[in-house]
């Protein structure tokens, strides 16, 4: 009978001499900043007198937002015909802008939920602002389908509310799935965002010196006392909401992609859409997070809490998801060629070389080529360059949605029903204004809410280690 050899005596002697290498973790908070510094830094943003740059930017943002107001007023008083939508292109900028803004929101949930489950502690410096970005981006996104329905005063028919015609929403339609996905996404993101802020509102309340500030933040803090019995429930609730948001965020862009994939239009009817849309959403969202956080970091001197390690990580996620998006573009071409379907083949050749080739190549250069620059450490350390690359990514991802939506509709089965889509000035006004609307909300957030999660930053600070300090 054979027995397994006893290795205990044969253990190589060298193993006793091996010293494990010291692999220090990257520091999340530089210069050994303590708890009080964090409180002062974050509360200081809310407590200081309104800075001039804020007033200027806020005025500009309000002015830009008024363009959406004007565009929508004209649309509602005249009709959706004022947008550039004509047969055969029934989904123009409205759906492009909707998908663009929803996609931007996804990085916020990725940072707050998925990175929380993966115990990526670096998320704590950016998660609050990223979640705010999510909520405001979803608000901007919601404008477009809401007004695209034409008679916006009937938009409540989208929800399962009894109406005078006694008809109900049609649940076989992916557009109705979208209503549920996006409204659930908005609700859950808002709850998650607010719940995380409650302890920080408590901190601002406890430091408040003027009665109106005390009153305002007392209401928001709900009487939070920071007892460990409360923290225990709060941490559990936070973890569970992170766990719920993760399948939610993946489902939202999956369902958005179903709007396209469930149809029979060449170029849309593909199974790759859900993962490809989710990767694209995270890609564009991280670019937007960097676009917003790099200037804020410089203005408020947050270099100790948002350091090169955070920026590196975000650049690397942009690089990874950008590469996935590039791979998805290639896969789409391969599958079209391999499918043997003439319409599918034509749709893709037409994208790259047809009447919208200019848009296609803008998309490829911005989304596939630019993020590859993030392979280089020198570039990741040059923050102006990072910011510019992120702008390119934002532009590229808008064009991706444009290419997908418009090329497939403009040239589908019958050449006799082909067309060429261009937006009208009303389309341009409405979309341009959403950047103002977004900025108005984001500036209000920066001014009145805790920009960084103080409690979570203190939790990852080395000072919180009960075994060392």
């Amino acid at each position: 009978m054979a027995y397994a050899p006893d290795h205990s005596s044969e253990r190589p002697a060298i193993l006793d001499k091996v010293n494990p290498a010291e692999l220090p973790r990257a520091k999340l908070i530089l210069n050994d900043r303590g708890f009080h510094w964090i409180t002062d830094k974050v509360c200081g943003i809310v407590e200081e007198p309104t800075p001039l740059w804020w007033k200027v930017l806020f005025t500009v943002a309000l002015f830009v937002a008024s363009f959406t107001g004007v565009g929508l007023f004209y649309l509602v008083s005249t009709g959706t015909g004022v947008w550039g939508l004509r047969a055969p292109i029934g989904w123009g900028w409205a759906i492009v802008n909707f998908v663009f803004w929803v996609g931007i929101g996804h990085a916020g949930t990725l940072i707050s939920a998925i990175l929380c489950l993966l115990r990526q502690k670096w998320r704590t410096s950016i998660n609050r602002a990223a979640e705010a970005m999510t909520i405001f981006a979803v608000m901007c996104a919601g404008i477009f389908p809401l007004f695209h329905v034409g008679r916006v005063w009937f938009a409540w028919w989208l929800f399962p509310i009894p109406n005078q015609n006694a008809i109900w929403p049609q649940f076989r339609s992916p557009l109705e799935w979208d209503v549920f996905a996006v409204s659930t996404y908005f609700t859950v993101s808002s709850l998650f965002w607010y719940m995380g802020m409650v302890p920080d509102f408590g901190t601002i309340r406890d430091r408040a010196t003027t009665w109106w500030r005390k009153a305002f933040y007392s209401v928001l803090a709900m009487g939070w006392r920071g007892g460990n019995r409360q923290w225990s429930n709060m941490e559990m609730a936070y973890l569970l909401l992170a766990g719920l948001s993760t399948p939610l965020v993946l489902s939202v862009h999956t369902i958005v992609s179903f709007d396209f994939a469930v149809s029979n239009v060449p170029g849309w009817h593909t199974t790759i859409f859900p993962p490809y849309f989710v990767a694209g959403a995270i890609f564009s969202g991280f670019a937007m997070v960097l676009t917003l956080m790099l200037p804020l970091r410089a203005i408020y001197r947050l270099h100790d809490v948002i350091n090169q390690y955070h920026i590196d990580n975000m650049c690397k996620i942009i690089l990874a998801t950008g590469t996935m998006v590039g791979y998805a573009y290639a896969t789409e071409f391969f599958i079209a060629a391999y499918s043997g379907n003439v319409y599918e083949k034509f749709a893709f050749v037409n994208r790259a070389f047809g009447q919208y080739a200019w848009a296609y190549w803008i998309m490829v250069s911005c989304n596939v080529i630019t993020p590859q620059l993030f392979w280089f450490k020198k570039i990741r350390e040059n923050h102006s360059l990072v910011w510019i690359i992120c702008l390119f990514v934002n532009v590229g991802m808008w064009f991706e949605r444009f290419v997908i939506t418009v090329t497939s509709l403009a040239n589908d089965y019958l050449p006799s029903s082909w067309g060429y889509y261009s937006p009208t000035i009303v389309d341009i006004f409405t979309f341009f204004g959403t950047f103002g609307f977004f900025s108005v909300l984001f500036l209000l957030f920066v001014r009145f809410f805790p920009l960084l999660p103080m409690a979570e930053l203190k939790m990852v600070s080395p000072h919180s280690d009960i075994h060392k300090h």
Binding site: T39, W177, G226, N228, M234, S251, K458
Partner: protein, 180 residues
């Protein structure tokens, strides 16, 4: 046995370092206190165990919400598309668990999130804007960089002088009586 003074809420004592409050909490737990708490600006890692707290009950409310949401999603789609106003679209069945699955999925998440969010506020007894602790000048610092142990008067072990001395023996710094 206790000379209970109804106007006293408890005694509080502050600590400067998380390690100090952590070890003090272990001693309060071992002394068998029931009504007491540790206040801090952030959740201290491992303090639940040091205080002997049971696991939070929020997951039950999350599950309750999720199950409610799933059933609500099923009933909603069945009632609207198959029972109240049956309409054949694309030759598909009037109701099946497949086509409205995204609705059921989203309703599950939505209601589970409601269960978690409102459950957290209910279990934490919030909003509660009036509390004796808010009158304590040192309390404001606990949401910044200070830590505080509060022993409540409703605990059967509470005795003003003994509890004060007990907190002193734990290494606390400022010991104050909290009045209602």
């Amino acid at each position: 046995m206790n000379e209970r003074n109804e106007s006293i809420h408890g005694v509080a004592c502050t600590f400067r370092k998380p390690a100090d409050v952590y070890h003090a909490a272990e001693k309060v737990r071992d002394a068998g206190w029931k009504y007491w708490d540790v206040h801090s600006a952030y959740p201290i890692h491992g303090l639940d165990k040091a205080m002997g707290l049971p696991r939070s009950k929020i997951p039950r409310l999350t599950l309750l919400g999720g199950v409610t949401g799933f059933i609500a999603g099923c009933l909603l789609t069945w009632y609207m598309n198959s029972f109240d106003y049956p309409l054949i679209v694309g030759g598909k069945p009037l109701w099946s668990p497949i086509f409205p699955f995204p609705i059921m999925y989203e309703c599950t998440i939505l209601f589970a999130a409601f269960g978690t969010f409102f459950g957290q506020f209910i279990l934490n007894r919030l909003p509660q804007h009036h509390h004796p602790l808010f009158d304590l000048p040192q309390f404001a610092r606990t949401s910044d960089d200070s830590f505080m142990i509060v022993l409540e008067a409703r605990d059967s072990q509470f005795h003003l002088d003994d509890s004060r001395n007990f907190l002193l023996s734990l290494g606390g710094q400022e010991i104050t009586v909290i009045r209602d």
